[in-house]
């Protein structure tokens, strides 16, 4: 099983490395969001306050940005969740194209176990969003040091446990969505149907999270829904680690637990669905 998994994973990474256009596009996407959206949409609720006291400033920041020092810092943590989800979209499309070109059929014609076929694509498909998530964090931190640009200002000292929780949150979110989209790719055969199904899932999940909306501007019902949204759960771990836990009702480990529960349920359902499709005899 391990030999087959290694061989097929190598294939996925070779294909990824040989597609510079896709790499360029995937890098460009978060960069444009960070440079344009983050700077252009940089809300400042403090501007409306006349000679605010420190307590008023803290209250406003807590209300709108859940403890983040500004919108950009709040937004860049949210961008991590946003980028992880949007960059896993193509994992299933690649399966469909491999089906159309006969490559998937050839692989299924070998005795390579289904777990290796699925696992190799999952590893490669999740690695890219995880790398992009850290790229977003790195760029956002870098922008904070470039005059004229907004950037991510981390206000807490990051402990090894905190760093581990951030990593775990990103990895879990990437694995969860990569599994879902990979399942779509295995079950569907037509690219148009795949993208329709993905958008049907993707947009509501993204837009019911607090990844991009300032918390204080969200209506109460959306705040309630977003607390259970897996993207929000991931982003909460990041924001609480970066900006402090004063406004959060639970510690990061609880959000991580929620994310783990989501991942377990969705991955479980997905594996049940693909098990039939990946049986040795169809």
């Amino acid at each position: 099983m391990l030999t087959e998994l290694v061989a097929l994973t190598r294939r996925e990474f070779l294909k990824l490395a040989r597609n510079p256009q896709a790499i360029f596009t995937s890098l460009l996407f978060p960069l444009v969001y960070l440079l344009l959206f983050g700077n252009g949409f940089n809300l400042n609720p403090l501007a409306e306050l006349q000679n605010p006291t420190q307590a008023q400033i803290s209250a406003a920041l807590d209300f709108y940005f859940r403890g983040a020092p500004n919108y950009y810092s709040y937004f860049s943590a949210g961008m991590v969740g946003f980028v992880v989800v949007t960059s896993t979209l193509f994992i299933g499309a690649n399966v469909i194209f491999d089906k159309l070109f006969g490559i998937f059929k050839r692989t299924r014609g070998t005795p390579a176990p289904s777990a290796a076929v699925f696992g190799s694509r999952l590893i490669a498909g999740a690695a890219q969003p995880i790398a992009l998530a850290f790229l977003v964090l790195g760029l956002a931190l870098l922008f904070a040091h470039i005059p004229g640009l907004n950037g991510l200002h981390v206000t807490q000292s990051i402990t090894p446990l905190g760093a581990g929780e951030v990593l775990a949150a990103i990895v879990l979110l990437a694995l969860m969505f990569a599994t879902l989209f990979l399942t779509f790719g295995i079950l569907l055969d037509v690219p148009q149907t795949y993208f329709a199904a993905v958008n049907l899932l993707n947009l509501p999940v993204l837009l019911t999270s607090d990844a991009l909306y300032p918390w204080g501007t969200m209506p109460g019902w959306l705040q309630t829904i977003s607390q259970y949204n897996p993207i929000s759960l991931c982003v909460n771990v990041l924001r609480e680690t970066f900006f402090g836990s004063a406004v959060y009702p639970y510690p990061p480990a609880i959000y991580l637990g929620g994310l783990l529960a989501w991942a377990a349920v969705l991955i479980g359902i997905a594996l049940l669905l693909v098990r039939r499709a990946l049986r040795p005899l169809e």
Partner: protein
Amino acid sequence: MSGEGAIIAEELVKVYGGKVRAVEGVSFTVRPGEIFGFLGPNGAGKTTTVTMLAAGLRPTSGQAIVDGVEVSRDPEEVKRRIGVIFQEGTADGDLTGRENLEVAAGCYGMSRSDGKERATELIDKMQLTDAADRYAKTYSGGMRRRLELAVGLIHRPRVLFLDEPTLGLDPQGRAGFWEFILSLRKETGMTVFVTTHYLDEADGMCERIAIIDHGRIAATGSPAELKDKLGGDVVTIRTSGPTPDVTPVLQAIRGVSSITKKDDTYRVKCMQGETFVPLAVEAASKAGVGVTGVSVKRPSLDEVFLEFTGREYRGEEGPTETDKAVMMGHIRQNLRGRR
């Protein structure tokens, strides 16, 4: 089911969606080491049958045994023992030829070092050495097919399934491909099961063939046996004059089924044209009639197909006569060169 076949199909049935009956009770046995052709027009059930035999599709009923393993019972083991070359090109264009082979080796559980070694061996055998480290998407159609053949052979299978292997290749490419298959079989004694709708390929390359039409086997046998079932060869004998009539003399020769005479020319239908000719010349000579010309015409597989299916083979699907001549010429020339 008993027997020593490398491939045994017994009453295989495949119904898609409860409605479309693609294969309806197909049975045949392929002997170890033979090249067996599975012949039929598009939509006849060839690919469905080969996919069931290659453990890619569960039969609705019936059973298949490949290299002694029942396919439905242990499909993974069957996949370990067979190589499959699919109808559609399956080479990974973004990988080099060598990488395609190394990934395939890994899929069969071969270690990295064994995979590399076997890949190099097959690259040399398939004459892809110069192109081995180029992306497969830069290969010509013939090179891609050879690469796909190498991929199918990476794990030294005992049975090789070829599904329309020469579809889309030019005559040179087809000739080259078949040369590889023939030399491979000679070297390894591997059983080769090939589906094709090129009648000339089935006729020239396969020891036995099965004709499938509308999901059923219409006939099985060697190309010569199937042609003999039509009543044998047609021998045309031109004599020095219309009299005396040698019809009774020729009729007495063994294997003759019918004779028609027009002026000085006799059209004789007989089982073995080549063995009949010297006997006929001798008999005519003894009867005082000189033979001035002889031709022997064997029935083609087109006629066999017509006989067993009741309709003509769809000619537009096959190669042109020129294509056939060029391909066979290439093969003959190369075989002569080897000798």
